[in-house]
């Protein structure tokens, strides 16, 4: 499936994207609307909106706690759609959802992706729905113009080409073992992983997990098509609560600049 909304996110001057993640409803719906718009204004090329889940097994402490705060405030999947509707009144920034299999399954795949289509949400990332299981959902998502984003991990090895060949939208390359969270060092041989991906597909591949500094973002974007940052953004929200907007703006602007300065691949 050619996903023009996602392709647009990677169609920057140097063909590198800065992708930001934020948990919806943390600390409340109004703040989420403001923060998503602010992150877009600061230059994020694509924003992943986390639909909170009670048991986010792929998340480290920072995003786990954001999920808990959001759910404690009564956030539901319908409330998240409402946040996106309000964002869409003011912005056409490319958006994806990130959540776990159960909230989507329970909402009903068709009903869920019909909503995504209506709100122009371009893709969905589900860490607990690997290649082997996505067939129950992907055709329904695609029918509504939504890409199911594939993840590739440091342990994927021989699976890389199999996954990449069928990938749609963009590829989420997991930088490190374990869960999401800020890391001081990323030691995975990402260049080799990217090389395997490039052998089978032109689908853009962005790296996430553990990235928090402009230097790290630049380094990751240099070997791939973009950097994804979640925990570092969620941490700003955790620190400043409803007053996080200027801090988010400054942070995202710096990160986007770092990614923009990477020389593009010569045509």
């Amino acid at each position: 499936m050619i996903n023009e909304k996602i392709a647009k996110a990677f169609d920057t001057k140097n063909k590198k994207a800065f992708i930001a993640f934020i948990t919806a409803g943390d600390p409340d719906a109004d703040s989420s609307v403001r923060y998503i718009l602010e992150i877009a204004r600061a230059g994020a090329d694509l924003i992943e909106i986390g639909i909170p889940f009670s048991d986010p097994t792929a998340e480290g402490t920072v995003i786990q706690e954001a999920n808990i705060r959001s759910l404690r405030n009564g956030m539901t999947t319908d409330d998240v759609f409402e946040i996106v509707r309000r964002v869409r009144e003011k912005s056409d920034v490319p958006l994806c959802f990130m959540t776990y299999a159960n909230p989507v399954f329970h909402y009903g795949y068709d009903r869920f992706f019909a909503k995504c289509e209506e709100l122009s949400v371009a893709g969905i990332i589900i860490p607990d729905m690997p290649y082997e299981e996505k067939a129950e959902m992907e055709p329904i998502a695609n029918a509504h113009g939504v890409s199911v984003i594939s993840m590739i991990a440091p342990t994927s090895e021989s699976r890389i080409k199999m996954i990449a060949a069928k990938a749609d939208g963009f590829i989420y390359v997991v930088s490190s073992m374990g869960v999401t969270g800020v890391r001081t060092e990323i030691n995975t041989d990402l260049a080799t992983i990217l090389q395997h991906i490039r052998e089978v597909t032109d689908t853009p591949a962005a790296i996430g997990f553990g990235i928090s500094t402009p230097e790290q973002a630049a380094k990751m974007a240099a070997v791939s098509d973009g950097a994804i940052v979640g925990s570092a953004i969620v941490r700003i929200v955790a620190q400043y609560g409803t007053e996080a907007a200027p801090h988010l703006y400054d942070y995202v602007k710096r990160m986007k600049e770092a990614v923009s300065q990477i020389p593009g691949i010569m045509e």
């Binding site: 792929a58 808990i68 539901t76 299999a101 159960n102 399954f105 729905m129 991990a153 869960v179």
Partner: protein
Amino acid sequence: MSKGRFGIHGGQYISETLMNELIRLEEAYEHYKKDPEFNAELAQLLNTYAGRPSLLYYAEKMTKDLGGAKIYLKREDLNHTGSNKINNVLGQALLAKKMGKTRLIAETGAGQHGVATATAAALLGMECEIFMGREDTIRQALNVYRMELLGAKVNAVTTGTQTLKDAVNDAMREWSSRVYDTHYCLGSVMGPHPFPTIVCDFQSVISKEAREQILEREGKLPAAVVACVGGGSNSIGMFYNFIEDKDVELIGCEAGGKGVDTPETAATIATGTLGIFHGMKSYFCQDEYGQIAPVYSISAGLDYPGIGPEHAYLHDIGRAQYVPITDEEAVNAFEYLSKTEGIIPAIESAHAVAQVMKIAKNYSPDQSIIICISGRGDKDVAAIARYRGVDLHD
């Protein structure tokens, strides 16, 4: 459709980081389960270390008192470490060792699986780390100390409801950060494929023995076999070799908590709906948006919001029947078995005893019922005393 399905249930809903490890585990298991040397080694451990075969005990006083079916108890409580958990743990630990792993991690609720894992790790010279909800470390403090005595590190999990599901969450997170030297020794017939199959195979020794033992004693199959169900490892072990015996009723007893009409319950079949969680499609206690419910039971081992996929399937096809038992009924059964037969069962197993106390009279004296006494109740004595308002520290 993906691998490891039981009807619509099961599958491998897990992060990409763990997929290759699950594939390796499946390959290793398929290889070693046919390996005579591996099987001989495991049989040796089960027989000379864990104390198998476990007794099938005729509970004569209980039979007379309840009136009706002859009641037999499959005494998994007599295994080394005091529960059925050792059956699976010795199998998985041996398999992990063959795979070159040097470290075991595990979740635990009541602490029985944690103790069994710590024991196997000590025996096989492996490092061991246990994840246990903070709430459960308080309810089952004795088992925490037992694990530490055995050389394991116990991590008190402080997220969510601080019980079994949160312990599974953290064990999965830990495994995904360190798969190369670590095996996640999952304790129930749950999680992503191949765990439900591996754990079922290792626990099926319960019904393999029980079926032979009852045929020898009674000359015919039992009318029913009854076991408690959280994730469902002792019950699948108790059911497995009777599944093809269509006349044998299979009855699983879920933790009803304070009642299935209250939010304080962990009865998944009675109150749950279809979902995807902890690597599997199955039934889960959850809200209308698919958020996993904070379940409750007096029994830390049954305090889990899901049920293994094979049980969900046995329920779907009507082969097994699942009934909820309240805290009050379980505590009464705990006391009843202690006084009547001199056997203090685990509060988990007491859920199965409670069901038989209700139904024994519906059967005739030439029929028999087997109850799986999945564990011994020493660990629960303090909690039962608290439930009855007795302060043991006076």
